[in-house]
Symmetry: C2
């Protein structure tokens, strides 16, 4: 059994990252989310271990100290991070682990796991992204300006990613990501053991 | 329009390379063979410009001298090679060009076009390959031994390729190659222009 691979997917808000990943996971049983951990309170409908691993602040800090947290960030007074165990459990089952994290976390993961494959999802254009954020109808104008500015900052990191996927049509973007995940497993660099069988 | 990319596909005899590529080309209109040139006589049913560009020895040598031949080899007294024009015509149409060539030609193409993507097709095992060669029923025992030996030499080059595909089930191998071709187009290194639109 080939061990699972680690895929990191990042995108600015409004690029449809969650929708793409949810559709993708319907189409393959060979991959799963590495569920993030957080100290914020669960929102209605959120299930521990599915949407997040909900931890107390003390528990999160203990895990940081014990190097069980691969990367983390503090946002609005709460910790958000990736537990080493969440990733390893998937990989050891032979599944690909998908980490849905923001750009700085992604850079940290790449340092820890140089073999991780980083995928950045882009909007078709800035105009479309702004329109999508506006069409949600849930954000104030200030918030839209802030999110757009943040998106510009995040896209600056895209040059450090391995693949770029434009989310123009959802179905295409899902197929793109499936192709990336399938192709990555075939890269020579990931198949030393296979080649060794022929020598 | 994104320019086409160059894919080189190599495999030892009996690995099903031709079948995979023929099936693949039924499933996509975004790629085509870069037809090889040769000085050998056409066999029955072979069409000039489809199976090969059939050239006289003088014509082939003139094209070598004029640097119109990207790579070539001499085998049993005949030249076999790839014309620069065959590749460029496809790329300029926005299609991916597939070169079906042996390992040394592939290494030469990689030197000329570092961005070329090299795919090596492997048999499931040496045993299966020998069985396939034997089951053809068209080869003498000497020829089978020779081809197996040649296959061992060719597989030594596989470590220099970008992707390895095992042809166990034809349909899987075709899907693998389609995924590789789709994913390669999404690599960040091939999308500087796309990223530039966001800066």
């Amino acid at each position: 059994m080939q061990k699972g691979s680690l895929f990191v997917v990042s995108a600015p808000a409004g690029c449809g990252k969650d929708t793409i990943l949810n559709e993708l996971l319907k189409k393959t049983d060979k991959a799963g989310y590495a569920v993030s951990a957080t100290t914020r309170a669960p929102r209605e409908g959120e299930v521990n271990g599915v949407h997040y691993h909900f931890l107390t602040r003390e528990e999160f800090e203990r895990r940081i100290a014990e190097k069980e947290v691969l990367e983390y960030t503090e946002y609005c007074g709460n910790y958000y991070g990736t537990l080493r165990k969440s990733v390893n459990d998937l990989l050891n089952e032979g599944k690909d682990a998908i980490l849905k994290i923001e750009v700085e976390g992604a850079m940290n993961i790449k340092k820890l796991f140089p073999e991780a494959c980083l995928v950045f999802i882009l909007p078709p254009s800035w105009e479309v992204l702004e329109k999508r954020l506006r069409d949600r109808g849930t954000e104030t104008e200030d918030k839209i300006v802030e999110r757009t500015k943040q998106a510009h900052n995040e896209v600056k990191f895209a040059k450090n990613y391995d693949y770029l996927i434009v989310n123009d049509e959802l179905e295409n973007a899902v197929s793109d990501l499936l192709a990336v995940m399938r192709a990555e497993k075939l890269r020579r660099a990931r198949n030393d053991e296979l080649l060794a069988q022929f020598n």
